[in-house]
Symmetry: C3
């Protein structure tokens, strides 16, 4: 039975869970009330740190789900996303609109990645 | 080629699908029209039964997505969730607002877990 | 470290990512403005092509997430879905309502499948 390793674990959730060559990340948000650009940058920075802690990296993300509180933020979010993704290493992706937990959160990004 | 085992299979979906050490669960709901507390409890009870059938358990959930029809139910859902999660075994998690299939459904919970 | 193979890769996303016996698909949509029936059919045809390219097939889908821009399209989407799924091979599934990226898109379907 493959071991489960949890990173930044609380009673409600772990920020990352590692099992059998994959790492599953909790949805990452930026700071409520900031611009969509700043929130996307902060979410991706958190993802990058968690991937490093787990033994992965952003070029090994397999699948990403992005929730926007307002789909009108799509282009601004993508400008940050497109610059962050290493060329040739883009994951499968889906982006939908969903009101998020907590007022002022505009974007939440969920990733599954392969370990190095 | 790793075998696929399906649990509670219909023409539209299986309630659980087991493959190569993981079990993927269909979104689980409670009974339409009941309180958010009762719906969350029933959803989690269904998840626990399916995990047992699959050869897993709630301490081995890797990732969970929670959809609330109304984000105002966030605290009431979390009260049930937080008490249900074994200490130290919380999965990665994301929670968004989404209108669900069928009137009166307030919460749907989707899990991926590791087999024992 | 297991190899990652990407299919139809752009700067923003890959349409499919293969790793360690699984293929993760990007959310697939039909043509904006067409009927929900036509959009569902086109989405599923794209999924079938990508699964073939990846070395999988629709009978090996493990988990599916379906986003409808309007939950009132649930029955029309399901009529196409139910006919498309090979008997006895239905995946785990969840379906929620989410406004999609781009005007006129009514359904987006996200799959994870096992390779053959």
């Amino acid at each position: 039975m493959a071991e489960i390793k949890r990173i930044n674990t609380g009673q409600r959730m772990s920020q990352a869970v590692v099992h059998d060559g994959l790492v599953w990340l909790a949805g990452q948000c930026g700071t409520a009330g900031e611009s969509i650009t700043a929130q996307t940058e902060e979410s991706l920075a958190k993802i990058e740190r968690l991937l490093t802690q787990a033994g992965s990296e952003k070029s090994r993300i397999l699948s990403t789900t992005i929730w926007l509180a307002d789909m009108d933020d799509y282009d601004a979010m993508n400008a940050v996303w497109d610059a962050w993704i290493p060329p040739g290493a883009a994951p499968a992706r889906a982006c939908g609109e969903s009101r998020l937990a907590g007022t002022g959160y505009d974007v939440e990004i969920i990733c599954v990645a392969a370990l190095k």
